[in-house]
């Protein structure tokens, strides 16, 4: 379907039909609310962003020291080291 004949009804008229940019009339309608809404956006947005960074920070701090490593004998350790050196070459 092409464009409907006649002036488009509804608030879509407040956008330019070709460029879809806001008309000056819509800028004036929005003006009294714009700055407070923007500030509210950042205030509310800072909550999830803050939670994300806090979690990231907390996880990075963990060195897994609380996880027990099974005991290993000196001989076993030497053997493993040798194996490792050989693999490296």
């Amino acid at each position: 379907m092409g464009k409907l004949i006649g002036a488009p009804k509804g608030q879509t008229r407040y956008y330019d039909p070709k460029t879809h940019q806001m008309t000056p009339a819509l800028y004036r309608v929005r003006a009294p609310f714009f700055w407070r809404n923007t500030i509210a956006l950042f205030l509310l947005g800072s909550v999830p962003v803050g939670i994300y960074y806090y979690t990231f920070h907390k996880i990075a701090e963990d060195d897994f020291a609380d996880i027990p490593i099974p005991p290993i004998s000196e001989e076993e350790l030497k053997k493993l080291k040798l194996e490792y050196e050989q693999k490296k070459q």
């Binding site: 002036a7 608030q11 008229r13 407040y14 000056p24 819509l26 309608v29 009294p32």
Partner: protein
């Protein structure tokens, strides 16, 4: 490609990005300044403007030399002074940049006669119940009522010139009125009482059973416009826009005054010539009827045709009354009736000085101690945005309905002893 041209290209790209940012931040309203042709009023293509120019030259006096006006201000195209020397000597005129206001007057007058497509007069129909109307200012009203977008000041000037009268009334009565009670706003305690009475009729309390409910609306609400002149020329479909804001109430709009009827054939304000001094009634639809009374208010009041007045259903509007003009005798007589009715009376003024003059007249009147102020002087949010010119003093400009003030006859309640 040379280095410079690359740099130039970069700045272009940079600018484009920035312009998007500015647009997003609403710091650039996207207004492309379109220059309109400025005509001298003597050389205007429209005859009515040329005759008006001649009228100014005949009537007005130069503010500097007090001689007749012969010089057309080159900035505004309007005849303002006696000669070029006088125009140069008028330091106030140049200091306050009055010519910019006059230039706007000139552009508005030519725009109205240009015969362009007046899309702003494609008025919307009934309001959907799910969408609340915001009467905070003109722009919010147009947007929430689904008017076509008023993109430039010329659209606004044309639309507000006719809508200022119904909207000034509606902004006071509306449930979510932009005018607040003292100390936050201009409405005094007495004014809040008057508005509460009117809103009781406009928004009756919800009552379940039909037996216990008392119908207060046994007749339509009446709005009296006293000293009507241009208001009476406004067609019914403009008043219907007022009706759409209060869809559950019927209205009678009474125009009272010698200029309350404009005859379209002879193009003059005329007496209606109806028998027995009855008003000429024009029924627009079942909600809105327009009544034209071409007599002074005091004459109609003495005849008693409009009785009884009820502060729950009636209100008076005096758009630019001009108490101190030639009609002062009639205003003197009318004021008694207005105050006796105990209905709220609102009046508007062209600018600060004008409304101050009117208030001063009321305060110095012998009936002033029978009067309560119900609304302090304030800017009318729904004043006309089109600048107008005073023919007898062409350096003075004004806006219709720019200021608003309200008063009422004192009411005394029964007190238990």
């Amino acid at each position: 490609m040379s280095l410079r041209s690359i740099q130039n290209n970069q700045t272009v790209v940079f600018k484009r990005n920035l312009s998007f940012l500015w647009k997003f931040l609403a710091l650039d309203d996207g207004k492309q300044k379109m220059e309109r042709k400025l005509y001298n009023w003597d050389e205007s293509p429209y005859e009515s403007i040329r005759t008006r120019s001649a009228l100014i030259k005949a009537k007005a006096l130069c503010p500097i030399t007090s001689k007749s006006i012969n010089y057309i201000c080159p900035y505004s195209g309007i005849p303002t002074h006696h000669s070029k020397e006088a125009w140069e000597q008028d330091t106030e005129y140049h200091k306050l940049k009055k010519y910019e206001q006059l230039k706007k007057v000139n552009l508005y007058e030519h725009d109205l006669r240009s015969g362009r497509k007046f899309t702003e007069f494609a008025f919307p129909g009934k309001q959907d119940k799910n969408f609340t109307i915001n009467l905070g200012n003109w722009d919010s009203f147009f947007y929430t009522r689904d008017f076509p977008p008023m993109n430039d000041e010329f659209n606004l000037a044309a639309a507000t010139k006719v809508l200022t009268y119904p909207l000034t009334i509606a902004s006071l009565f509306y449930k979510f009125s932009p005018y607040e009670i003292e100390p936050k706003g201009p409405i005094t305690l007495e004014g809040a009482k008057s508005l509460a009475a009117l809103r009781y009729s406009l928004y009756p309390p919800y009552v379940k059973s039909s037996e216990s409910s008392i119908t207060f609306k046994d007749r339509p609400m009446r709005i009296f416009i006293i000293g009507a002149s241009i208001e009476s020329m406004i067609p019914g479909y403009v008043w219907k826009q007022f009706g759409y804001l209060f869809p559950n109430t019927n209205f009678e709009i009474h125009f009272i005054g010698p200029e309350a009827y404009f005859d379209k054939e002879s193009k003059t304000f005329q007496s209606t010539n109806t028998p027995f001094g009855k008003p000429l009634i024009i029924r627009f639809d079942e909600q809105i009827t327009l009544h034209h009374h071409t007599k002074f208010f005091n004459e109609i009041y003495d005849m008693g045709d409009l009785f009884p007045f009820d502060p729950y259903l009636d209100s008076f509007f005096l758009f630019h009354p001009g108490f101190k003009t030639a009609d002062q005798i009639h205003w003197n007589k009318s004021l008694k009736g207005l105050l006796e009715s105990k209905c709220p009376i609102y009046m508007t003024g062209y600018h600060e000085d004008d409304i101050n003059k009117e208030i001063e007249w009321l305060k110095n009147h012998e009936l002033s101690n029978e009067m309560d102020v119900i609304m302090n002087k304030t800017d009318n949010l729904f004043g006309c945005t089109k600048l107008e010119l005073v023919d007898s003093n062409p350096t003075e400009t004004y806006n219709i309905n720019n200021k608003i003030f309200g008063f009422r006859g004192k009411r005394y309640h029964a007190i238990k002893t």
